[in-house]
C-alpha cells in the first residue's frame, strides 16, 4: 500500500513525474518557475531519475525543446507559470498540431499588470484555445493523480496530444498536503512505455511541422480538432482504470450536494474546497445549494455538463479570470454557450472573484449564492459582476 506523506505539492509533482519515469525535462529554471523543476533537477543529479534535464534560456525554448524531445519518442515533461506560459505561447500551439504528447503542469497565476505573482486563472485562460487537453486539480492528491493520468492519455495512440494539468499557484504549489505517492513500480502497471507512432529518425526520414499551404491548413486543423474532441472517451476510460488500480475515482465534472438544489455554484480548482464549506453551512441553514466543478476543461465535457444541470434552477458560475471586454469570465461564457439549444436550461449568473491572489472566502461564496437566488426569483440579474471589489 502506498503511504501518505506530508509533502509540498510542487515536490509531489516532481515525485509523480519521477514515478512516471520521464526521459526529458526541458525547463526554464528561474522565476516564475516553482519548486517542481528544481526538485526534478535534484532527482536527476542524484541518479534517482534517469532523464535528461535541460535548463534552457527561456520558456519559448523550453516548449521548443519539449516538442523536439517528444518528436524523437521521449516521454517529456515541463512546468511553468503565468509570464513563462505567456512567453511560450507561440510554441504552445505547435505541440498539439505536431501531435507531440508532452505533459505540462501549470501553477496557475495572474498575468501582469499590475505586476502580480499570485494565484488566479488568467494565465491558462489566455492559452484556452491552444489545442491541449486541460484538466484542473482541486488538491495535492489530485494533482499527483492527474499527472499520472495525463501521461497515459497524452501518449494513447488514439490521442497523441499534449496535456496541461492545472494547479493553483501558491494555494496548492507552495502548500504542504498529505499525499499518497505512488512508486514507479506501482505506476508502471498503469503507464506502459511510450510507443510513438512517428519519430524523427535519420534512418527513416519524416518531416514534422511542414508548411500548411491554404489547400491543406484547414484539413490539418480539422484533424487536430477532431482528435481533441475524440480524446474525451480515452480520458474517461483512463480515469476508470486509475480507479480500479489505485482506488481514487475521477470524472470530467464533480458534483457535491446538488440534489434538489435551487442554486449550484460552479468552480474550478482549489477554491472548490472552500465552496464546499460554504455549501455545508448554507445547507445547515436550509438553503438548497449545491456545487459543481469542472475537472476537464478541454475538451469541454458538453454531454456530461448538460446531464449534470438537469433539474437545477440556477447556476452561479465563479470565474477566476476576466475576459476583457467580453462582459463575463471565460468559464461562464462557455457554460452559457454549452446550454444554448439544450433541452434543459438553468438560469446562469456569472461572478468573477479571486483575482491576483485575493482569497474567495466562505462569506463571499454565500454572497454569490444569495445574489443568484435573488436574481433567479426576479428572473434576471446583471450580465456578470465582480465579487469583493472595493468601490471606495
Amino acid at each position: 500500500m502506498p503511504k501518505k506523506v506530508g509533502i509540498e505539492v510542487s515536490l509531489a509533482v516532481s515525485e509523480a513525474v519521477c514515478a512516471a519515469d520521464v526521459d526529458v525535462i526541458p525547463a526554464y529554471p528561474v522565476t516564475p518557475q516553482t519548486h517542481i523543476v528544481e526538485h526534478l533537477s535534484e532527482l536527476v543529479a542524484d541518479g534517482e531519475l534517469d532523464a535528461e534535464f535541460m535548463p534552457v534560456e527561456s520558456e519559448h525554448s523550453a516548449m521548443s525543446a519539449c516538442i523536439g524531445a517528444a518528436a524523437v519518442g521521449a516521454r517529456t515533461f515541463t512546468a511553468t507559470s503565468a509570464p513563462g506560459l505567456a512567453l511560450m505561447h507561440e510554441i504552445v500551439f505547435i505541440a498539439p498540431s505536431l501531435r507531440t504528447p508532452i505533459v505540462m503542469v501549470i501553477a496557475n497565476r495572474a498575468l501582469s499588470g499590475p505586476i502580480s505573482i499570485w494565484n488566479d486563472h488568467s494565465d491558462i485562460m489566455a492559452q484556452r484555445d491552444c489545442g491541449w487537453i486541460q484538466t484542473f486539480a482541486e488538491n495535492g492528491q489530485e494533482v499527483f493523480d492527474l499527472i499520472i493520468h495525463a501521461f497515459r492519455v497524452a501518449e494513447d495512440p488514439e490521442v497523441l496530444l499534449p496535456m496541461i494539468v492545472n494547479m493553483d499557484g501558491f494555494t496548492l504549489s507552495h502548500v504542504i498536503e498529505p499525499i499518497e505517492l505512488l512508486s514507479a513500480s506501482e505506476v508502471s502497471q498503469y503507464l506502459k512505455p511510450f510507443e510513438p507512432q512517428l519519430v524523427l529518425d535519420p534512418k527513416n526520414p519524416v518531416t514534422m511541422g511542414p508548411v500548411g499551404v491554404p489547400e491543406l491548413y484547414t484539413e490539418a486543423r480539422q484533424q487536430a480538432e477532431s482528435v481533441l474532441n475524440g480524446s474525451k472517451k480515452v480520458i474517461v476510460r483512463a480515469w476508470k482504470e486509475f480507479a480500479k488500480l489505485y482506488g481514487r475515482s475521477y470524472k470530467p465534472i464533480e458534483t457535491y450536494r446538488t440534489e434538489g438544489a435551487e442554486v449550484v455554484l460552479m468552480t474550478m480548482g482549489s477554491v472548490t474546497e472552500t465552496a464546499m464549506t460554504a455549501v455545508d453551512r448554507m445547507r445547515e441553514k436550509g438553503i438548497e445549494v449545491g456545487l459543481m466543478r469542472f475537472r476537464l476543461w478541454r475538451p469541454f465535457p458538453h454531454e456530461e455538463f448538460r446531464r449534470a444541470v438537469r433539474g437545477i434552477k440556477a447556476l452561479a458560475v465563479v470565474d477566476r479570470a476576466i475576459s476583457f471586454g467580453a462582459q463575463g469570465g471565460p468559464v461562464c461564457s462557455k457554460v452559457k454557450s454549452a446550454l444554448y439549444g439544450a433541452p434543459y436550461q438553468p438560469q446562469v449568473f456569472g461572478f468573477i472573484s479571486g483575482l491576483g491572489g485575493r482569497d474567495i472566502t466562505v462569506e463571499m461564496f454565500k454572497q454569490m449564492v444569495k445574489k443568484a437566488i435573488r436574481y433567479a426569483k426576479k428572473g434576471e440579474g446583471p450580465v456578470y459582476e465582480l465579487i469583493g471589489v472595493r468601490e471606495r
Binding site: 505536431l98 501531435r99 512517428l198 518531416t207 511542414p210 499551404v213 491543406l216 484547414t218
Partner: protein, 97 residues
C-alpha cells in the same frame, strides 16, 4: 496559386500533418509566381557551376556536356544566379516576354 499534387481529405493526412515520403516537395511546383526568369547565354558560359551552386532552389542540373540546365518548375526568379555568374552569361528577362 501554386499547383499542389498532394491535395487530400483530412482523414488521409499523416499524424500531425507529417510528411513521410522523402523528397515529396518535388511535387509542389512553385515556379509559377516568378516575375522574371534567367536565360543563359551558352556562348559566354565557362561551365564554372556557380549558378548551380548558388541557386537556393536547386533549379539547375549539370548536363552531359558540362553546362547547367534550368528547370522552370521551381525557379522563383530571385536573380541570384545572374548576380553570381562571373561571365555575365545569365540575363534576367521579364516573364511573358
Amino acid at each position: 496559386m501554386a499547383k499542389v499534387d498532394a491535395i487530400t481529405g483530412w482523414r488521409n493526412l499523416e499524424i500531425g500533418c507529417a510528411i513521410t515520403e522523402p523528397g515529396s516537395s518535388r511535387k509542389l511546383k512553385t515556379g509559377d509566381w516568378r516575375s522574371q526568369r534567367p536565360v543563359t547565354d551558352y556562348d559566354k558560359c565557362i561551365k564554372c557551376g556557380l549558378c548551380w551552386i548558388y541557386c537556393p532552389d536547386m533549379v539547375y542540373s549539370p548536363t552531359r556536356d558540362g553546362y547547367f540546365k534550368w528547370n522552370g518548375d521551381y525557379c522563383k526568379g530571385c536573380g541570384i544566379c545572374a548576380h553570381e555568374c562571373p561571365k555575365d552569361a545569365i540575363t534576367m528577362i521579364m516573364e511573358g516576354e
